[in-house]
């Protein structure tokens, strides 16, 4: 389903990876590991089509992703180090305005329910800038509930700032996605086996 072929990328003289090859199919999960600055974020951005590799290709369903980009991109759900939230808007407004763009059209009630489930009931009508770090990350992750139609989830350190209960809730979501035939690539520095069935790729 997803094939990475001979991928190479260098920042200036700093070669991050060279001739990287791997492939994943439905229900696969992979954890990318490596020290700070080893190129995990860069790899994830290349895989999701945000960034062009120096060499090699990302092949999706047999076709090179760059060739029919807008097709490919519709299967990707990317979450980076930054939350992608507008700090002046409330959690509800953020989701309501962002999700239609990503191909989901939840009703207000659905959004509200998802935020409640994420433990944000008390703060969902506050501007994001007045939330705690973990609350912000929770808002960003609530998006995942509406992204089931996108098969390839690429998550860069999704567990940052989350407390124990939020981490286990996220693990449940990730598991459910894989079990329903999704593909998951993620990174985390946290030292526990979040998704034990995940294979591992080290960039060091």
């Amino acid at each position: 389903m997803l094939q990475i072929q001979n991928l190479s990328f260098a920042r200036g003289k700093n070669v991050l990876f060279e001739n990287l090859n791997f492939s994943m199919t439905e229900g696969d999960a992979m954890r990318v590991t490596g020290s700070n600055g080893s190129g995990k974020t860069t790899l994830l951005r290349i895989v999701s089509g945000l960034c062009r590799p120096d060499n090699g290709a990302v092949v999706w369903h047999g076709a090179v992703a760059q060739k029919n980009e807008s097709e490919f991109v519709r299967s990707v759900n990317f979450l980076g180090h930054d939350d992608g939230l507008k700090k002046q808007l409330t959690a509800t407004e953020n989701l309501k305005l962002m999700l239609p763009l990503l191909g989901a059209s939840p009703t207000d009630i659905e959004i509200s329910a998802a935020l409640d489930a994420a433990g944000l009931e008390a703060v969902k009508h506050k501007p994001v800038m007045n939330m705690s770090a973990g609350q912000k990350r929770r808002v960003a992750l609530t998006r995942l509930d509406f992204m089931r139609h996108r098969v390839l989830w690429v998550l860069d350190e999704p567990f940052t700032s989350l407390d124990v209960s939020a981490i286990s809730a996220l693990v449940v979501k990730l598991r459910a996605h894989i079990e329903s035939g999704g593909v998951l690539i993620f990174t985390t520095h946290q030292d526990f086996d979040v998704v034990p069935e995940a294979s591992s790729l080290s960039l060091d």
Binding site: S70, F78, H81, D82, L85, Q88, L89, L97, M98, L101
Partner: protein, 222 residues
Amino acid sequence: MYKAFISVLRKELLLALRQKTDVVTVLFFFLIVSSLFPFAVGPELNTLKIIGPGVIWVGALLCSLLALHRVFETDFNDGSLEHLVLSGEPLTVLVIAKISAHWLITGLPVVIVAPFIGLQFGLSAASLSLLLGTLLLGTPVLSLVGSIGAALTLGVRGGTALTSILILPFYVPVLIFGAGAVVADLQGLSIDGHLSILTAMLCLSVALAPLAIASAIKIALE
């Protein structure tokens, strides 16, 4: 596609409403300055008539310029630009939505306010409608061309300064032909040249800007 366009546009307008940003500042400032000018220059109507269009056009230009860095920069910094690119909708369409929002926030208010300020400068009804016409032709050019500059300088050290150096050479001719048309008309000269140049600029920038911006954004995200 249409839905994506609308949702980007709504988001931008809501944000502007919440954040108000420099736009309100500039508009407020524009109002004050242009109403002070008649005081400063004195009530001699002929002078006022001649500087009026210039003052209004300078205001339009400022409003446009100073809100430019909001078009893509905040999205770039907080990670939402990536979501736009990965939405799968044609990026050019989303870009057009963002530019439209920029125009609605900076161009439209100026167009609406201009007649009142024009009156203070003693412009006649004919001059006023000509001024409105040139503003309607010209301000979208400012938004389009300005956004190219804003997109090209994303993530570059000293981005804002660079933006203005890149785009002012395009902004100034718009100003000159826009304000010039009204003055030429006052002096009884033909204005066909002015108007056709403005129209040509508009057509060109509508055709080229969205493409250029979409590629610039992709490059910035690499």
